[in-house]
């Protein structure tokens, strides 16, 4: 009898935190696996326009073209005019083909003819620049493009 009495009188045992590190490690590994470190350093502003009639981008077969006004740190050097960025550097519209070819060859060989060009263009860019880029893409026979947008609809603003 005395055995039972002893247990009742004792205070609540402390909650074991021994498994806390395991839980945190699990979260950590999850984030480490899903993390994609940005490959290219953005030199241009990227406020993408909104759209809701969208399709998913197939990342393994796409090459990116960025365009917009130079970012805050680059205005003094490059001015305020919208520019095109491919990879890590600014590219003149006339040189887009070379930069794209370079990126295309980095893709997996079986996907190289199914390339999709993802256009990440700041909403304040003029359509003229976009048209020039598209014209260049047509000449290169890179006909599948996708205008990257952010979720939402501009009518709701």
């Amino acid at each position: 009898m005395s055995k039972f009495k002893k247990k009742k009188s004792g205070a609540l045992p402390p909650i074991s935190t021994a498994s806390l590190p395991d839980i945190v490690f699990m979260l950590l590994f999850f984030f480490m696996v899903v993390t994609v470190l940005r490959e290219s350093n953005l030199l241009v502003m990227q406020r993408l326009p909104k759209g809701d009639q969208v399709e998913k981008l197939q990342k393994d077969r796409s090459i990116f073209i960025y365009a917009g006004k130079p970012g805050p740190g680059y205005i003094e050097k490059y001015g305020k005019e919208s520019r095109v960025q491919i990879g890590d550097k600014y590219t003149e519209v006339g040189n887009i083909r070379f930069a794209l070819e370079e990126l295309r060859l980095k893709l997996r060989p079986e996907l190289q003819d199914k390339v999709m060009v993802a256009l990440k263009i700041d909403e304040e860019t003029n359509t003229g620049l976009v048209t020039d880029v598209k014209q260049e893409l047509r000449e290169q026979n890179l006909l599948k493009i996708i205008y990257i947008t952010t979720p939402g609809n501009q009518l709701d603003e």
């Binding site: 590190p21 969208v54 990342k59 700041d122 003029n126 359509t127």
Partner: protein, 210 residues
């Protein structure tokens, strides 16, 4: 003395270390889930070929440098564009009995507007100074109009799936259909695409100010 067990290492700070790492990765992570409006560019043309399209089958959307919309020579708000495009595509103006007659169109059947969705072409003309934001907004609305009609036709033709065209396409793109089902869905989508083909033309932008 020799058989004294080693003292246990205190693992209490392990959680703190793991938390620090976790927070570092949380902050640096950008989970990229890019989505956008897909479009096929026309192939480069060798020489100018003139395609004759009847005026009534052409829906002209003009965007000027101040981001104002001129649709069929009338000023229009962006919010009305989708419905206007749907009305145009779905009009079915060809009279009954002619080969162009559209038996699934639910529009006004006005002889002034498009014959059928296969013939109807939407042409967007931009100024070079139009903002990209407006350009995407217009494209988005026009694609929405096509998707609305495709959804309707898909539901009419394949009611047993209880899905809309857009939903089916999403599942298809993600590889959600397997084996013979995949072939079947592809055929269904192509049938709907044939009924409502996406005929969006983009004219070369004019110089600013014109």
């Amino acid at each position: 003395m020799a058989r004294r067990s080693a003292p246990e290492i205190n693992a209490g700070s392990m959680a703190d270390i793991a938390f620090l790492l976790l927070i570092f990765f949380l902050v640096t992570t950008t989970i990229e889930k890019d989505k956008g409006i897909a479009r096929q560019l026309p192939p480069p043309i060798e020489q100018d070929q003139d395609v004759i399209i009847k005026q009534k089958n052409l829906f002209i959307v003009n965007v000027n440098k101040n981001d104002q919309l001129l649709v069929e020579e009338e000023l229009m708000d962006l919010k009305d564009l989708r419905q206007a495009a749907i009305d145009f595509l779905d009009n079915g103006g060809a009279p009954a009995g002619t080969p162009d007659y559209c038996n699934y169109c639910k529009g006004d059947h006005s002889p002034e507007s498009s014959d059928n969705p296969q013939k109807a072409v939407i042409s967007v003309q931009n100024d070079r100074l139009t903002s990209y934001k407006m350009y995407i907004a217009v494209q988005n609305e026009l694609v929405a109009a096509y998707n609305f009609l495709r959804d309707r036709e898909y539901k009419r033709l394949y009611p047993k799936r209880q899905l809309s065209y857009v939903e089916v396409k999403k599942i298809y793109d993600e590889g959600g259909f397997k084996g013979t089902e995949e072939e079947k869905v592809k055929e269904e989508m192509e049938a709907v695409q044939e009924l409502i083909p996406l005929k969006l033309s983009e004219a070369e932008p004019k110089k600013s100010g014109s």
